[in-house]
Amino acid sequence: MKTNIYLYILTMIFTTWLMRVSSSLVMKKPIKNRFIQSFLYYVPYVTLAVMTFPAITEATQSPIAGAAALVVCMAAAWFGAGLFPVAIAGCVTVFIIELFI
């Protein structure tokens, strides 16, 4: 049986908010522990990368289109395109490739 969806959404909202403000509650000085600092430094990149691949190849009708979008988005981001242009470049890539498959 699934959790009540509104309770689930409230939990999502409250936990996320707590993440944002937790530093304000505890912070008087910066964290000194080097391992924790380093761990937190890598976390956002690792999490987002893990969630992106292979999921992007499963989101599209054809896995090849998703893989191509990954490559195009990475190249666009590498050469300095912003958030929105990168997202659009991915969408256009999938649209064009799936026209031919």
């Binding site: 959790t3 304000s24 999490t47 992106t52 991915g90 969408c91």
Partner: protein, 239 residues
């Protein structure tokens, strides 16, 4: 009073282009949310008050696979760990004696983009500025989500398929520029792709739920990189 008003309006103006980007990406999030069993109202409320792209995507997905509240809390903490870091960075800029309410209001407005425009300004972050940006951007995020959920089934399959990568595009755009600046991050990104793929395909391991695989991989890979390539606040040590 006038100064506060000016800061709010300035934040609001800077938040609008962010909101335009949010809208498009949120449509993609909404399309996913619809598949995961969320109504337009539920998606709208979740987006209006959570406003966390990767975290919401994870949460919607986890709900669909029957995730528990405990799993939701753990994954939300892990996926949004960057908000703690951003919170520390913002608090670092606020002078000693700044009231707790001010600190909390500034940090309540954290998203990747609002953090970006706030930290780019000189001096102590103002809650009027961050709140102005939040008020401009987040309703568009919520509207986009509701649009994706309610229009997802009217749109042609080819459009839905194309839009469904927008969210991943935004993830990629938030990690690659840092990877270009820091080779250790780039290596961590590729290691994450490789292990995530392996964990999704290997027998036995692939039977762990995708939510738990995300936790496991994040903790493992980040720990290994933290041990091998430690960082301090100023950035890399070795150069």
């Amino acid at each position: 009073m006038n100064e506060k008003r000016k800061l709010f309006i300035h934040g609001y103006k800077n938040g609008l282009p962010i909101g335009a980007g949010y809208f498009a990406v949120a449509v993609s999030l909404g399309i996913a949310a619809r598949d995961y069993g969320f109504s337009a109202l539920q998606g709208f409320l979740a987006s209006l008050f959570t406003y966390a792209s990767a975290g919401q995507y994870m949460a919607f997905n986890l709900y669909n696979v029957g995730g528990t509240l405990i799993q939701l809390i753990i994954l939300t903490i892990i996926i949004n760990a960057r908000y703690i870091l951003m919170g520390f960075a913002l608090n670092q800029r606020m002078p000693e004696g700044t009231p707790l309410g001010t600190r909390m209001l500034v940090c309540t407005c954290i998203t990747d983009e609002i953090f970006g425009i706030t930290i780019a300004r000189r001096g102590a972050p103002s809650p009027y500025y961050t709140f102005g940006a939040l008020i401009a951007a987040v309703p568009l995020w919520a509207l986009g989500t509701a649009t994706g959920i309610s229009m997802g089934n009217i749109l042609p399959v080819s459009i839905v398929s194309a839009l469904s990568v927008a969210l991943f595009g935004m993830f990629i755009a938030s990690i690659i520029p840092e990877g270009r600046k820091d080779k250790a991050i780039l290596a961590a990104i590729f290691a994450s792709f490789a292990f995530s793929y392996a964990f999704a395909k290997l027998p036995v391991i692939s039977e762990i739920s995708s939510g738990n695989r995300t936790i496991l991989l994040t903790v493992l890979i980040s720990s290994v990189f933290a041990a091998l390539f430690p960082r301090t606040e100023g950035g890399s040590d070795e150069n």
